[in-house]
């Protein structure tokens, strides 16, 4: 993504953002609330066309929807009129697979997401954590090269969140997929990522820093937060992020 600027009706959300994510890396974007993190993600997904600048995906200029990417939304994005199984099958169905043929892989993902016995439930009958599992299966089943996640676990309680984070790491490690993860929670960002990118306070936010997180993998998310190296990296990024957060308070 190079020199991307996006404006909404005169309001500049992000300005001149350049961001490059190498294949197979887990990169988080952090920044104060309202700094345009989600905008960056939507542009990478092709859901928003940038006012200026361009996005390149695996060597090709992005136009329209990013077909190599899957997107996990912050909000509930499941189709409420479809059962768990039908929701998970959807991506394969849209790619032209017959429903019967897609059933096998979908059931496999039901199992991987720990949703056995809930195949025929509707989303409103599930807890928030289970709905996230369905969303996870729904996005990962299409085997995307890139996974875009927009604070996917923001609405979950701490314990459910920790479990989901571990599961995402489990899915990702060794898969070779590229992850762009947006969050306002620096701890989460450091714990999961290879690299943390800091956006400045909005409006017209830009990339103001990029930090490598070279903690060894696989990581144990339960204990990593007490690791001295984790704390060193966290503190370094937080010093930077803090000034941006204070700026966003001031405006």
């Amino acid at each position: 993504m190079s020199n991307v600027t996006h404006q909404f009706a005169g309001y500049t959300a992000v300005e001149d953002v350049s961001l490059s994510v190498s294949q197979g890396r887990f990169v988080s974007v952090v920044g104060p609330s309202g700094c345009g993190k989600s905008t960056v993600l939507s542009i990478a997904a092709g859901l928003l066309a940038p006012t200026s600048g361009s996005v390149d995906v695996l060597g090709n200029r992005l136009e329209g929807i990013n077909r190599r990417a899957a997107y996990m939304f912050q909000q509930d994005a499941l189709l409420p009129w479809k059962t768990v199984l039908a929701n998970i099958t959807l991506g394969l169905e849209f790619r032209g697979m017959a429903v019967e043929a897609a059933r096998g892989p979908a059931l496999e993902w039901v199992r991987r997401a720990g949703l056995e016995g809930f195949e025929n439930h509707y989303p409103h009958q599930l807890s928030g954590g289970m709905r996230k599992r369905v969303a996870m299966a729904q996005t990962w089943i299409v085997d995307p090269d890139i996974v875009l996640m927009d604070e996917p676990f923001g609405a979950l309680d701490v314990h459910t969140r920790l479990r989901m984070e571990s599961e995402i790491l489990g899915l990702w490690s060794g898969s070779g997929k590229t992850v762009l993860f947006v969050t306002h929670d620096l701890e989460e960002a450091v714990a999961l990522s290879d690299e943390v990118v800091v956006l400045s306070a909005g409006p017209a936010s830009r990339v103001v820093g990029s930090y490598a997180v070279d903690l060894p993998r696989p990581r144990n998310l339960i204990d990593i937060r007490t690791d001295p190296e984790f704390n060193r990296i966290y503190t370094a990024i937080w010093r930077h992020l803090r000034t941006e957060v204070l700026k966003s308070y001031a405006s």
Partner: protein, 263 residues
Amino acid sequence: MRAKPSRAPMILWQGLLGAAFLLFWQAGASLGILDKFFFSRPGDIAARVWQLFAAGTVWSHLAVTLLEAALSFGIGVASGILAGFVLARNHFLAALFDPYIRVANALPRVVLAPIFLLWFGLGIWSKVALGVTVVFFIVFFNTFQGVREVDPVIVNNARMLGATERQLIRHVLIPSALTWIFSSLHISIGFAIIAVVVGEYLGASRGIGYLIAQAEGVFDTTGVFAGMAILAAVVLLVGWGVDRLERALLRWKPRAAASREVA
């Protein structure tokens, strides 16, 4: 579904209210407080309804009215959903037609009845035309709204999962608009019947509206009330059918139609 503890007693109370109303009416008319000529009596009306069905004369009229209502409902719903979808997906057309739709909808439908009589004659089609003008707008506005108010996050999710425009319509827009469309069906089924009856009342040779007009012409209040009773029963029955259909199709909704349950 009927776990609510207050439900059974409420049916009792509702029944009592209706019975009391009929009893006072009957008594009032029998004792001369209400003029029998203008108000008739529930007993007489019930007897007349029975007589109409027993003699079999009402069936052909009922069939005509229901046929007209069904045709205007079918044509109105189909065209309303189609127009609603097209305009909701096409902002240019929506803006273009907006003032004309407003004008057309502002027109009281009853004034169209005479013109339809001239255009389509005394047969069923003048009534169907009247019914369609009523049903169309109700369904159109609801469909339009329903498609416009689809959660953008769900649309984006489907697009990211690779949905084409057609798949988007089928898997997202139609199911989402169904809630709105169904709420319009409830209203429009009743209005369709009312519209065709008004049409019959104003000029026809058959139908329940015609029966009522005939009875009114000879100051037969009992006949008018009997026609009304039959109409009300038919509208309730059809509404119940729509309810059942809705509950089957909107199974995914939390608390679907629970508040509008029909015993």
